[in-house]
């Protein structure tokens, strides 16, 4: 398979780029909601528009009413989300939760997928326990109780948790905290008794919850996939999420870079455009190289994932780590090359830096993923 977009994907890229630049623009979405101190952190109207575009259910199978597309396509949408810093539950709902739901029974899929596809509902996932992403250890417990389960424990960094109609929760149904087996995924509805949110605003103006499950009673049909067999579903979800986050990161890097290159062509000091200084030219050229490389490995990882390759997990970590480095460079160079104006809230470049920071942490930072690359390579 060639490592570039095929005709359909190129068309989607064009559509997504146009749509996001118009409807998802920084002034129209991020600043709009942020400056109104919106408790959701995103606009439901835009989510509806996502549905009309077919984005919300793009990963959902055609039999279930979705578009049956893959992670390359989701990545195309996410790159444009990243470029425009568009706040939306797309990554958490349409990539992470949707990937989990694909493994659900007819009942589970029938209950949750239509609302997602129509843009009526927003979902998210609860994986992390603690401030760092370490999904190898899951202590949150779901004990058998009657025909169902009783869920207890805490989850952190549940993105848009308080606004989500359903949360996919990874919980332990047997074994020790760090066992690979014994995990089960549950679809926990928003109104479940005993679930509470401590919802906080993050540096990038998005919202996330610390969620507490205090003996939440769940029916057997809340289970997604097999009881005790959730690790595979969790891994599938993590791979899709990481590749998706990487794609969004490429967009953040590209957006920050574009702004910066523009500025180098406008700002004058010492009677010259600052873009005439070779010290900056070389750094801009270096940044361009890094962003191109980051995009390549992200598409590679998405293709492997869509092809069901066993290398997908490895490549997802390579991509997540590489993008973190490239996007980190893009936003740092962006602010620095803007000088004083780059430090102002009025200017957008700082918003890229903030979003990058949150994205870096989401589903594992560059250190975590570089560590995985080492481990999976046998050292």
């Amino acid at each position: 398979m060639p490592l570039y977009y095929d005709d359909d994907q190129a068309m989607l890229a064009e559509t997504a780029q146009q749509f996001m630049a118009e409807e998802g623009a920084i002034a129209k979405q991020l600043r709009h909601w942020r400056d109104r101190d919106c408790k959701d952190g995103f606009g439901h109207g835009l989510w509806k528009q996502f549905a009309e575009m077919g984005f919300t259910g793009m990963l959902v199978g055609e039999d279930d009413g979705g578009l049956g597309m893959g992670n390359v396509e989701a990545g195309i949408v996410l790159e444009n989300i990243g470029r425009n810093l568009t706040p939306s539950p797309f990554l958490s709902s349409s990539v992470l939760a949707a990937t989990a739901l694909k493994h659900g029974s007819d009942d589970v899929r029938g209950r949750w997928l239509p609302g997602l596809i129509e843009g009526e509902k927003v979902y998210t996932v609860a994986i992390d326990e603690g401030a760092k992403h370490r999904p190898e250890t899951i202590a949150c417990k779901a004990e058998k109780s009657g025909n169902g389960f009783r869920l207890s424990g805490k989850k952190d960094f549940v993105v848009y948790g308080a606004s989500s109609e359903m949360i996919v929760v990874a919980a332990r149904t047997s074994g020790d905290d760090s066992d690979s087996d014994g995990i089960t995924l549950f679809a926990v509805p928003q109104d479940a008794d005993g679930m509470s949110h401590d919802s906080v605003r993050l540096v990038d103006s998005s919202m996330a919850s610390h969620v507490t499950f205090d003996g939440v009673e769940l029916d057997g049909d809340a289970v997604i996939g097999e009881v005790d067999g959730g690790r595979d579903v969790l891994n599938a979800m993590l791979m899709a999420g990481r590749v998706g986050a990487a794609a969004e990161g490429v967009g953040v890097a590209q957006g920050a870079m574009d702004m910066t290159i523009d500025y180098l062509k406008q700002r004058k000091q010492f009677g010259k455009l600052i873009g005439e200084f070779q010290a900056l030219q070389h750094r801009a050229a270096h940044l361009y190289s890094e962003v191109e490389i980051a995009r390549a490995v992200t598409i590679k990882a998405a293709q492997l994932l869509d092809g069901g390759s066993e290398k997908a997990d490895f490549m997802a970590s390579v991509a997540k780590a590489k993008v973190a480095k490239a996007a980190g460079l893009a936003v740092k160079e962006g602010v620095q090359m803007h000088g004083g104006i780059g430090m102002t809230d009025e200017y957008d470049i700082g918003l890229y830096m903030k979003r990058d920071r949150a994205l870096q942490e989401f589903l594992g930072d560059q250190y975590y993923h570089a560590g995985r690359v080492a481990e999976m390579s046998g050292y």
Binding site: G130, A131, K132, V200, L202, A279, D345
Partner: protein, 393 residues
């Protein structure tokens, strides 16, 4: 006991008696820093007591001469005092641009009358100064600045705009670069001192990405600046039209200050603290922290060497540029790593647990370190030119 050893013993005793326990805790936020000035208020009694004890002892500016409000300490004694303060974690009793920037310039270029008045006002925390250098069109290329002072005999009428003026809305006086000769780029700038309360000065805060607004646009609209504030006390430092020399000299001190060479938080290793706060560290992050700690500890030695040499005139005059470059790049890295170690908790912007997003806001603030006082690129240009003497640089 040598003189220095007995000075150390005395200092230790004095600090023990005068530095309240609250003032030995790390500074948490801006309100823990006392900046002085007409409108200053103390956060608490401990801050007040500590400031007053230091002021009375000359320890707000320990190495300035006694007649200007200092304690007249020798460089060696000054170092001992810094070490002893660091040992107990004592806070700076008074922070100000007067101490770090204007003071050194006045000590070098000022008249006796200017020193008596302005240095004492700085040392006692009475007057808070801000720095009017940058303009919208003149940042890195500072000498192209346009704010103009028209000569009216016994006074100037100043018109123009400054930007990024830190704390202009809280400062009492400004030290300001004003063009007094339009024909002469380098020799047409006068380094003026004037009261911000005078008519025609206005400020407009600019919000930073950290959410705070400590810097401003500053506008001058027919501001009358008298040429003299009394006998031997002109309103300009150095000579008229020769303010660029003063401006550059001051920048050396500003860069020294921003470099963090004086020690404290900015040069310390952080790995052990990260483990204490965040628990077991991911191995790759741990390796990255170790690399950082090596650089930070080495830089800390460089800071000590630099200051020791600077005080006795042995440092290359352009060395503050290197220190600023290295120190600020290091500080940015420090905060990147602190954010990484803090994980998703550190992303919180308003939560109580994070004190209203202190970590995240602090991290964003450090991004200005390599911009304010001259950018890293400008530092590297200066090093290439003035230290390495590279062709064409």
């Amino acid at each position: 006991m040598s003189d220095l050893e007995s000075f150390r013993a005395e200092t230790r005793q004095w600090l023990e008696a005068n530095c309240p326990p609250e003032m030995r805790k790390p500074v948490k936020d801006e309100s823990d820093v006392y900046w002085g000035g007409r409108n200053a208020t103390f956060k608490n009694d401990a801050q007040k007591a500590w400031f007053e004890a230091c002021r009375d002892k000359g320890y707000t500016v320990p190495e300035w001469p006694k007649e200007y409000g200092g304690a007249g300490l020798s460089p060696a004694e000054g170092k001992v005092l810094r070490q002893e303060m660091a040992r107990i974690g004592a806070r700076q009793p008074l922070s100000s641009f007067g101490i770090w920037m204007l003071g050194p310039a006045l000590l070098h270029f000022g008249t006796e009358g200017q020193k008596k008045r302005f240095l004492n006002e700085i040392a006692s925390g009475e007057i808070r100064w801000c720095q009017g250098y940058s303009e919208p069109g003149s940042g890195s290329d500072l000498v192209s600045m346009q704010t103009f002072g028209e000569d009216k005999g016994d006074h100037w009428v100043v018109n123009g705009q400054k930007i990024w003026t830190s704390y202009a809305d809280e400062a009492d006086w400004i030290f300001c670069l004003v063009r007094t000769d339009k024909q002469n780029k380098y020799q047409g700038i006068t380094f003026m001192l004037f009261d911000m309360a005078g008519s025609g000065v206005s400020t407009k805060p600019i919000k930073l990405i950290s959410g705070n607004s400590p810097f401003c646009e500053t506008f001058f609209d027919d501001v009358e600046v008298p040429k003299s504030y009394g006998e031997d006390c002109p309103a300009y430092v150095g000579e008229i039209n020769r303010g660029w020399d003063v401006a550059k000299y001051l920048l050396g001190h500003e860069r020294e200050m921003i470099s963090g060479a004086g020690g404290g938080d900015r040069t310390a290793a952080i790995g052990a603290a990260m483990k204490r706060n965040a628990g077991e560290l991911d191995p790759v992050l741990r390796a990255e922290l170790a690399q950082f700690d090596v650089d930070a500890l080495a830089y800390s030695a460089m800071g000590e060497k630099f200051l020791d040499e600077l005080k006795v005139g042995k440092a290359h005059p352009a060395q503050p540029n290197m220190m600023k470059y290295a120190g600020t790049e290091l500080n940015k890295r420090r905060h990147e790593l602190m954010m990484a170690a803090g994980g998703s908790r550190a992303l919180e912007w308003e939560s109580e647990e994070t004190g209203g997003g202190k970590g995240a806001r602090g991290w964003l603030r450090t991004k200005a370190n390599s911009i304010e006082g001259g950018t890293s690129e400008v530092m590297l240009n200066v090093i290439s030119k003035r230290i390495l003497d590279l062709p064409g640089a």
